[in-house]
């Protein structure tokens, strides 16, 4: 078991979410930066879909009740195990009773902790993820929360010493496919979206990232009849300030979506902090 000595600013259990229930109003949820969780799981020999811990802005301390192989990925933080400095992106051995301390990330926002065997909380609708929008899954971690380990399915031998993660950028280009409702906006709005940059506002969470920049003006009024929303959708409320939907986004909505962030670039958005900027780069909708 793992005892949460301190969860840091915000920490949850996350796996790859609960796809397949959007038509019942259930957000997909799952790791906001899914490639980082997958990598952390590979580093400890877990199936990529095993549940780990998603830290927001680091600052956590975890005590391990049993011997454990763990790995950290995502936003790079200073890390020590029982006051021995250790690193990111590599399997780390924690002896029984050991405490892992994670500092504040130098860059990026979300850090993932995988443990061999996975976090074994009870799944809800097939997933162990905390859904911050709907409250499905385990509650956010608090001091004193105890998490069982195990249940991730068969683990493989650990064959990797370390892994390389791409650099984190506080001003990344982010590919976006325009539509499905780009025609609800003026040509100037679409041009403004391309011209960028947009700055990340303080209102960010697992549901979405609110952006500041040139307001995106609509070519028509009213609301769209409620329609399905997809991961990475850039939804524009009447104030013209776009919101990029992350893992816990609502399944349906009535504000027009001017574009959808390319799947490969969504983790870049999930790692942005307030004050960071991004440049939207429109790309064709079909993968080449």
């Amino acid at each position: 078991m793992i005892e949460i000595v301190s969860p840091g600013p915000y920490a949850t259990v996350q796996d790859l979410g609960r796809p397949g229930y959007a038509h019942l109003g259930v957000p997909r949820s799952g790791a906001a930066d899914a490639p980082s969780l997958r990598l952390a799981n590979r580093l400890v020999g877990n199936p990529e879909s095993a549940a780990g811990i998603e830290l927001t802005f680091g600052g956590a301390a975890l005590r391990f009740g049993d011997n454990a192989w763990i790995a950290l990925t995502g936003a790079p933080c200073p890390v020590d195990a029982d006051r021995r400095p250790t690193g990111m992106c590599a399997p780390v051995w924690i002896p029984q009773g050991g405490t892992l301390r994670v500092g504040t990330p130098r860059e990026g926002l979300r850090t993932y902790v995988a443990v061999r065997g996975g976090i074994g909380v009870e799944p809800v609708l097939g997933s162990r993820s905390t859904d911050s929008l709907s409250g499905l899954g385990p509650p956010p971690l608090r001091t004193g929360t105890v998490l069982p380990v195990g249940g991730a399915g068969p683990s493989a031998a650990i064959r990797v010493d370390s892994a390389v993660q791409g650099p984190f950028s506080s001003c990344p280009p982010v590919r976006i496919v325009l539509g499905p409702r780009a025609d609800w906006f003026t040509p100037d709005a679409v041009a403004a979206l391309r011209a960028g940059p947009y700055e990340v506002a303080t209102e960010i969470n697992r549901v979405g990232v609110r952006l500041r920049g040139t307001a995106l003006e609509r070519a028509r009024g009213g609301e769209i009849p409620s329609e399905g929303m997809t991961l990475g959708a850039v939804q524009v409320p009447p104030d013209g300030r776009p919101i990029v939907f992350l893992a816990d986004h609502p399944t349906t909505g009535g504000y027009p979506v001017i574009g959808v962030v390319a799947a490969r670039d969504l983790s870049l958005v999930a790692q942005l902090r307030p004050g960071d900027r991004l440049w939207f780069r429109p790309v064709p909708g079909v993968r080449t």
Binding site: A22, H23, V177, S226, G228, A233, G259, A262
Partner: protein, 207 residues
């Protein structure tokens, strides 16, 4: 009637009507194309999420299905969804009966009679897991949401807002006007399926 790209991994099919959206939804569920992960009906759309599919092939398949559901006419229903009806007993003692009566110029008894006298259909779900937007509210009962939403609405609350009615599936904040409550559990994550009210289900409230 068009099919729009919603990013690299999803297509938004405009069906032009809720009925056609439900027919397309039912066809896709009965014979799910390869790699389709989510099928999400909306008011006049169906969102099809398929991260690993060949989007162009999927689009041409959807175009064929779309033509068949929009040509079919309202009477045709080969999917059987229209046969399913859920009856929900309601105790009409909600905190907003009086405000709805005042806003609509009806008596409380008339409000109850109109709500219980209508047949609804589940249009789509959203807002919260299991929260079904019920279409078919008598236009005389259309009333705006509360100015200030309640911080917590108990599960089983039967409510209306604008052209919709709903049964709150779980405790949540809410700005809809409460007409009453039911003991029917419309949402249970331990059940399969977890909802009694998937899109297309017909619903009647029993006073």
């Amino acid at each position: 009637m068009t099919i729009r790209r919603a990013g690299e991994q999803a297509l938004l099919v405009e069906t032009g009507s809720l009925e056609a959206a439900h027919r397309l939804d039912a066809l896709l569920r009965a014979d799910r194309p390869e790699h389709v992960e989510e099928i999400v009906p909306g008011q006049e759309t169906v969102l099809v999420v398929a991260p690993d599919a060949d989007q162009e092939r999927l689009e041409s398949r959807l175009a064929g299905l779309l033509a068949s559901v929009t040509d079919a006419g309202p009477a045709r229903d080969e999917t059987g969804t229209a046969a399913r009806i859920v009856e929900i007993p309601v105790v009409y003692d909600g905190d907003d009966l009086d405000s709805v009566a005042a806003l609509t110029g009806l008596t409380v008894a008339e409000v109850i009679a109109l709500h219980a006298g209508s047949e609804f259909v589940v249009g789509w779900l959203g807002f919260a897991p299991g929260f079904a937007y019920l279409i078919g509210l008598d236009p005389r009962l259309h009333a705006p949401r509360l100015d200030a939403p309640r911080t917590s609405v108990p599960p089983g609350s039967v409510a209306i807002a604008g052209p919709y009615s709903a049964v709150y599936p779980s405790a949540s904040p809410g700005g809809w006007r409460l007409l009453g409550r039911t003991d029917v559990r419309v949402w249970d994550v331990a059940a399969d399926p977890p909802t009694k009210l998937p899109p297309g289900t017909r619903v009647r409230f029993l006073p």
